[in-house]
């Protein structure tokens, strides 16, 4: 291959793909076969991090940035005056294999602008994956984008070669989508998700009967929403996420703070700060929903449609619900422990193990790794009784804020003013 030409394409097509935040390479179970190349059975690996601090796990590129659509939020929209390029199938295969052999990446994340039509594009993506699996005996991770509107036949084949499939919903509400991407139809997004979900269920069922049934998208499917491009509340965003987790058994929903790239009057103006703190709080909420046993309505509801930017969502929930506290760490159940602010799941595990030996004190909890600056107001230990606790939520909040310095402190003051005005 011509290195100079490939380099130029790589510059354009990596740049265009970078707003897709998923970089996950875990959750698959593809073993190295017949002394081939690669293995994706273990946990995901971030091989390096970009200067913005994001993980680089996969070679994340577009097959092409030519596109027939004109979605306002998208950098490759038809009306945008940018350089266009397209990889050949073979170029993507060569790049993936050579990067993988050098241990730069865990695999490939291939997306694309839509040229001609959905099926034409999807067919190319599938061809890259198929070639990697069948001709190169490649067992690394492959994440393919499902093109909205692609036919069921192509989606059925895509999952045979890929580890993960995803469609980015991008805009959390139908109304927002109509405003920013008038040529796109909400149902076109849902259709491939449904197909993938059903295929996964079907293949799993058949696998129980016939062991040699191939796996279909073993790492499941995911989606992404842009945050801060349209006026949705955190409540709406997380409700939508919850819907996707429940309806389509999504492995992940990603939240991408909108990076202003356009002068379109429907969108935040160029130079608007990326809402990174809000994005961070949404991810924390997502984790509380998936791993800590919280229901979305406990964290966000009609009365609290936005997350508190000053404190994390668990602490914010605890301050609103003092009736659950204090919790005795020497007696409480696993789920109760997980609800104490400043106690993560790893600490929960260690507490459960350690309290079989001794009644735990504050010192024990500190060495276990509990964030006492938050946790101390919500728990009882062997040395800390009811009388030692400050129980008034607003006092607790004020104390925690004055005793800690958040790395986001500057941003909170700026962003809070947006909501109060």
């Amino acid at each position: 291959m011509s290195f100079d030409r490939t380099k130029e394409k790589l510059k354009i097509l990596a740049d265009a793909a970078k707003y897709d935040v998923s970089c996950s390479s875990s959750g698959s179970n593809r073993k190295n076969k017949n002394k081939g190349l690669g293995d994706s059975t273990g946990m995901g690996i971030c091989h390096t991090y970009t200067e913005d601090g994001r993980c680089v796990s996969l070679l994340k590129i577009l097959l092409t940035n030519y596109c027939i659509f004109d979605c306002a939020y998208c950098v490759t929209r038809k009306s945008n005056d940018i350089k266009r390029a397209a990889f050949t199938v073979q170029e993507v295969v060569d790049l993936t294999i050579n990067f993988y052999r050098r241990n730069y990446i865990e695999g490939l994340f291939l997306s694309s602008g839509i040229f001609k039509n959905a099926d034409y594009t999807m067919e190319r993506l599938v061809r890259v994956a198929k070639k990697l699996r069948t001709e190169e005996n490649f067992n690394g991770y492959i994440h393919l984008k499902s093109i909205p509107g692609a036919s069921d036949e192509l989606m059925a084949e895509a999952g045979l070669w890929a580890d993960r499939l995803s469609v980015n919903i991008e805009i959390p509400s139908k109304k927002g989508l109509k405003l920013l991407a008038p040529d796109k139809n909400f149902d076109d997004f849902i259709k491939p998700m449904k197909k993938v979900k059903n295929e996964i269920i079907q293949y799993k069922g058949e696998r129980k009967l016939i062991k040699s049934t191939p796996t279909y998208a073993p790492a499941g499917q995911s989606t992404q929403m842009i945050v801060g491009a349209t006026g949705e509340s955190d409540f709406q965003v997380m409700k939508t996420a919850d819907y996707f987790y429940k309806q389509f058994s999504m492995k992940r929903v990603y939240y991408s703070g909108y990076v202003s790239i356009s002068t379109d009057s429907r969108l935040p103006q160029l130079g608007t700060a990326v809402p990174m703190l809000r994005e961070n709080r949404l991810y924390q909420t997502d984790w509380l929903m998936r791993f800590y046993g919280f229901d979305v309505d406990e964290l966000l509801n009609k009365n609290t449609p936005f997350l508190d930017l000053e404190v994390d969502p668990k602490l914010s929930w605890a301050l609103r619900n003092p009736q659950y506290f204090p919790i005795d760490v020497n007696k409480a159940s696993k789920t109760e422990l997980a609800r104490i602010p400043g106690v993560g799941l790893k600490s929960v595990h260690k507490i459960l193990q350690a309290r079989r030996f001794k009644k735990l004190t504050m010192e024990h909890l500190k060495s276990i790794g509990v964030a006492l600056n938050r946790a101390r107001y919500f728990m009882l230990t062997a040395t800390r009784t009811y009388n030692d606790l400050e129980l008034n939520p607003s006092t607790v909040r004020a104390r925690i804020l004055s005793n800690s310095t958040s790395k986001f402190r500057n941003q909170t003051t700026n962003q809070l003013s947006l909501f109060t005005s």
């Binding site: 970078k18 091989h47 970009t50 913005d52 030996f357």
Partner: protein, 255 residues
């Protein structure tokens, strides 16, 4: 107080444990041979490494504490941290005195130190699985030089073995001067004689394949193009990729 000196191998450490167990009334410290900070008072005893004794200790531990227990001890040993041997001896004693459950007691400061150390070792292992950068040599071997904080080559062997089954590769620990080499069949431990003028941070044309530089160049291009400038966050970047690792990272090499 008696200090036992062993040869720095895990087997040697197990033999020291064996010795200490035979004389339980005394208090022992265990140290590597090359460690010089022995106390002014007290006695020093050199422990010779005998596979048979080591195996006896290991089998005993396997029966009581299982593979998880052994992994806790072995991985702490690989940290090469000062005085970690004393914590390991303490853990083995509590396994025998109080049962295998006692090594789950996070309130025991010596046991806690083992867990904290293993956490660091595991992080370093994971880092090396991420930060190894192979460079293709003219002899068709994918070569990588590393300088991990802890001796993690024994831990990453399996990962690379099951992943790169169809290419010959060598991962070399420049700090501890040994490497692991895969010859398309097995992974062996080996030592290299690089010669005086060899600089592992450079990709010289005499040693490396023609297209090697071109692929490094493509990788660097990808690394910079996938970055979002308006989200720049250097402290976070450096926390994830600490500067001491940059030396051997292809994407961090000057153009």
């Amino acid at each position: 107080m008696i200090t036992l000196k062993y040869d720095g191998t895990f087997e040697g450490l197990l033999c020291s444990v064996f010795y200490a167990f035979g004389r339980r009334q005394d208090e022992f410290h265990i140290q590597r041979n090359n460690q010089t900070q022995s106390s002014l008072f007290g006695q020093e005893i050199g422990i010779s490494t005998e596979t048979e004794k080591a195996t006896r200790v290991l089998n005993g531990l396997k029966k009581t504490a299982g593979n998880n227990g052994i992994s806790l001890l072995y991985r702490s040993f690989l940290s090469e941290q000062p005085k970690i041997e004393d914590n390991i001896l303490h853990a083995v004693k509590s396994i025998y005195d109080k049962g295998a459950r006692s090594i789950k007691d996070h309130t025991d400061p010596q046991i806690l130190r083992l867990y904290q150390t293993v956490k660091m070792v595991n992080r370093e292992k994971h880092r090396m699985e991420a930060f190894v950068r192979f460079r293709l040599t003219k002899d068709d071997v994918y070569f990588s030089s590393i300088e991990p904080d802890f001796d993690v080559l024994p831990l990453i062997k399996k990962h690379f073995h099951s992943r790169y089954a169809d290419q010959r590769w060598l991962i070399y620990d420049m700090k501890r001067d040994y490497g692991i080499y895969y010859d398309l069949k097995n992974v062996e431990t080996m030592q290299m004689n690089f010669g005086e003028d060899f600089d592992a941070t450079k990709t010289s044309e005499h040693i490396f394949a023609l297209e090697e530089i071109a692929f490094q160049d493509l990788w660097k291009e990808y690394f910079s193009s996938t970055n979002i400038a308006s989200r720049k966050n250097s402290p976070l970047h450096i926390r994830h990729v600490p500067k001491r690792y940059w030396k051997y990272l292809s994407e961090k090499q000057p153009a």
